[in-house]
Symmetry: C2
Subunit: 257 residues, 2 copies
């Protein structure tokens, strides 16, 4: 095993996935196991959030002391990297492959990716800080790249298109999951939380002015059903924009500009 202190010496590629070691099997009395540890971590992260996730608490949940975990894992960050890669597996790549054309494949991927981020609100803050080069993350990345390749955009445009679509999904999933988390922490439904927040803002003189020019948008949204419906609708519309934009760029390129 590698001491955490030594890991920092290789900052360029500090990641579990580089310098990989064979997992240690769970022959011990506690029946521990890297997979069991990671699975418990995901459960705990989902339940308690990133702030409520500590080595001691995780160990307690597994009926063991904190230091036992270090037999299977070098650092807490490694566990998080494993957890990240685990949840990437939730994206159903077979369903993506079944898509008829690049439009459908991109939509399926985007929706699945977004759902994954919302299911695991700790993901987006973490994902930004690690390399995300585990096998599952890479499999998803390859599929994204293939889908973009299918658009017919020139090579020089494909990275930009990939960013436009999937950085958007990342950002959207981040906002949505944080909203859901806040509502849950307040013990409210998303609808109650939303209408409560809007009302609170409207009453606060400090925010009334800023809110006023968007009254029409707020009204339109309020008349359009539940908050979760609105999340779906806005996301779908954004994807429509992106698909239309890619189509327009493809047309522009083939027009010889």
């Amino acid at each position: 095993m590698v001491k955490a202190a030594d890991r920092a010496k290789n900052p360029a590629g500090s990641s579990v996935w580089l310098e990989q070691r064979a997992p240690r099997s769970g022959g011990g009395p506690a029946g521990l196991d890297r997979d069991r540890i990671v699975a418990a971590s995901v459960r705990m992260l989902d339940r308690d959030g990133l702030g409520g996730f500590s080595m001691r608490r995780l160990a307690a949940e597994l009926g063991v002391t904190a230091m036992s975990l270090y037999w299977y894992v070098d650092t807490k960050d490694d566990i998080i990297e494993y957890a990240i890669d685990t949840v990437y597996r939730e994206i159903d790549l077979d369903a993506v492959d079944a898509g008829a054309d690049w439009r459908e494949r991109i939509r399926t991927l985007a929706l699945d990716y977004r759902r994954m981020l919302v299911r695991h609100p700790w993901m987006s803050p973490c994902a930004g800080q690690y390399l995300n080069i585990g096998p599952c993350a890479i499999a998803v990345g390859s599929r994204i790249q293939e889908a973009i390749r299918g658009t017919g955009l020139p090579l020089s445009g494909q990275p930009g298109a990939m960013s436009a679509v999937f950085q958007f999904v990342y950002g959207y999933g981040t906002i949505e999951s944080q909203f859901e988390r806040r509502a849950a922490e307040a013990g409210m439904s998303q609808d109650d939380f939303y209408t409560g927040s809007v009302a609170a803002f409207r009453d606060d003189p400090q925010f009334r002015e800023a809110l006023e020019p968007m009254t029409d948008i707020l009204d339109e949204r309020a008349s359009h059903g539940s908050v979760t419906d609105i999340w779906e609708r806005d996301f779908a519309y954004a994807l429509d924009i992106l698909v239309a934009g890619i189509e327009a760029m493809v047309a522009r390129e083939s027009a010889g500009t």
Copy 2:
């Protein structure tokens, strides 16, 4: 002042910007001041990152003990929320207003927003976790909303368009700033760091397979100058896609679909 423990009781809107208190002026011997604290925090966050930012270290830099800070501020999170709003001020809204049409205004806003995220790599991880309803953040938000309104999209589509553009910018700025941070931590130029990473991946049998189908893209990128140029180019292309997409949706709506 409000004890940190009590703050948690209002999880719905836990933010400095709700329940606001007048800033305490710096009449004390240390010449302290909320503004001075926040300015020092931004400096420290830029230099040492989020992980290197602690109350004790911040206090030391101000020539004071940690507990002194709590006279001006309730919690560490409050400082971060103030810091976030401070850097939003770097987005030049006057330059946005000078834009000729919505295309230019959106482009200016997006570029400024991205630059701000890259200048302050701690921003993106933080921004996702707070409400960002400080005065400067709200001013930027209003300007974004105005710009989107200028596209001529129907009300129902404007939130989606706003997400498509600015969640993308957020995601892109996140990735870019993390890359820059990693390169800096490794003590390399971005170019050296990039080519080194690609080479390392190509040599590692575990990644060779995943990298192989994107050889053409990597070659195209390698032939296209420095990494920073590529960041610019991809970002610009993605913005082109978004603008083209919005135009297409406007045309589609006015065609009466």
